[in-house]
Amino acid sequence: MSNYIPKIQHKRGQLFDSLFVLVLVYVSLYIPLFLESDTKSVDETVLTQAHTWESLDVSTVEQEQWQKLGFDETAAAEIINDKFDYTINPVMLVITALVIIGYFFFVLRVSQKQYREVIDEKFGHGDTQSDKEATR
């Protein structure tokens, strides 16, 4: 079997390929903004309320530390009431799991095929002992 002779890529093609990867990265950075990924939420009614340290359920020591950090009740309330929502959407969870598993399956499967080409070219194509063992 003859060795594979790769194509030579010209400079314009090299530039195009570099830019393609860059554009792809930027697109994937901005997609979550459109999908509103942030699940932290602040209750708007809570924000407009007047707050005291007692209403925020903050102990005396905690209050001292907040004040040392330069926060009053109102500023602290904004942070204290900013909470994560861990409600799980089962459909999205299954889709995400399938995407990750599918990705690795695809990459490993194709890599396996390409790796055989690499090994055959490096060590020669043939019925080696290990090949026979593998097919048993």
């Binding site: 997609i31 903004l33 699940t39 390409q114 790796y115």
Partner: protein, 466 residues
Amino acid sequence: MSNSTSTSTAGQQQSISMLKVLNPFHVWALGVGIVLVGEFMGWNFSVAKGGAYGALIACWVIGLLYSCVAMIDSEVTSTVAAAGGQYTQAKHIIGPLMAFNVGLYLVMAYTMLEAADALIVGDLMSAVAAATGYEGLNPQPFVVLTIAFLAWLNYRGVFMTLTVNFVITLFAFLAIIALFIGTDPLNPGSVLKHSDLLTELPYGWIGVVASLQFGMWYYLGIEGTCQAAEEVRSAGRAIPLGTIGGILTLLVAATLTWYISTGLMPWQYLGQATTPLYDAASIIGNPSLQVVLFIGTMFAAIASANGCINDAARAWFSMGRDRYMPTWFGAIHPHYRTPFRAIIFLIPIAVSFAFTGLLDQVITFSILSGLLGYTFMSINMIKFRKMWPLDVIKRGYIHPFHPIPALTLLGLCSVVYFATFLGYGASLLSIMAFYIVASVWFVMRRYQFVKRGDQFTMPWPRPKGY
């Protein structure tokens, strides 16, 4: 004609190799240098997701994940001693498409981390200017200056780059120790107020799982030690010593960081702080400690950006050398022996990432790229032992208890994917979409330029099963 010219050029490029000048301290400086900034900022987002105790559990669980990473890395890298680290390992053990993906994981993880580091430097300068009466200082020139200066350092040579990293990383580590001593740890309650500030788990155990995502920041990047494999004097000695020494240093630093911060700040504040250790020094009210922590935070961010440039450039260079990416990037500087084109190319990219204003997306992209790389490492380790059993090729280091570390790593990675889904599900899907599209693009377009036989350069026998 064009064929022969190209071959000749490639031949000339390959005849110039990188210098073998590094020792275990440089490897330690590279690994810990990249990561230590995670103690100064970033780890505390795990407190927001799961509370203070959740972050401590994350610190230890993710510490276990990285111990597995360090053990696996030490064995494979001490055997596959070439620039590109895990990328080169993937090329020899799994195949071209996996290698292409691993190369991208490395470049994306490090370049995005570098952007976040430079942003920290800019923000710190801005904060100091505000504190000294110069409100509204634009941080962006400092971001550009930091990246440009470090890129120049990297361009000039790896020995100087990592020697500088060793000095500033050591200072940053000692700053954490100094802060710990400054909190009077032998008298609990005097400065540290754990009994008053530690609360129950705010979101229950689901929050603990969710906090594993940012628990990665305690250690993210330690696997970068592999990138130095082609430039160390003895890969079999320097990589295991530097990597395992690095993970031990980070376990100590992470535990101290958690202990200090949670004893001084309410968990809700800590969960969103930009520079928690510097804030801790400010609360204590000791001006000397404040200065030490300011310099420590600055040095940690610079060391991290420096190591990231080093590693991202080597991964990009290796991909260019193998034609996975344009061959133009696969050149070594004839005098400085560094991958200079890859270093220069990544400067504007890092700057532009820093200027997107999407810091959380950039950090999540970095973490997930790292996580995908760790998933690959567990599969890689199992295949490596199967294809070349211990008696077939000589290893510089053999890690114990195989396959327990690889299987543990795979299990922990699965849990961290779930942790990322909790709160950052859309980011997870969009980043997966990036790698899927890039993979299809590689198969359909780039693979035609790849010379098959050249992908296997190690002097090993034919692998079992092939």
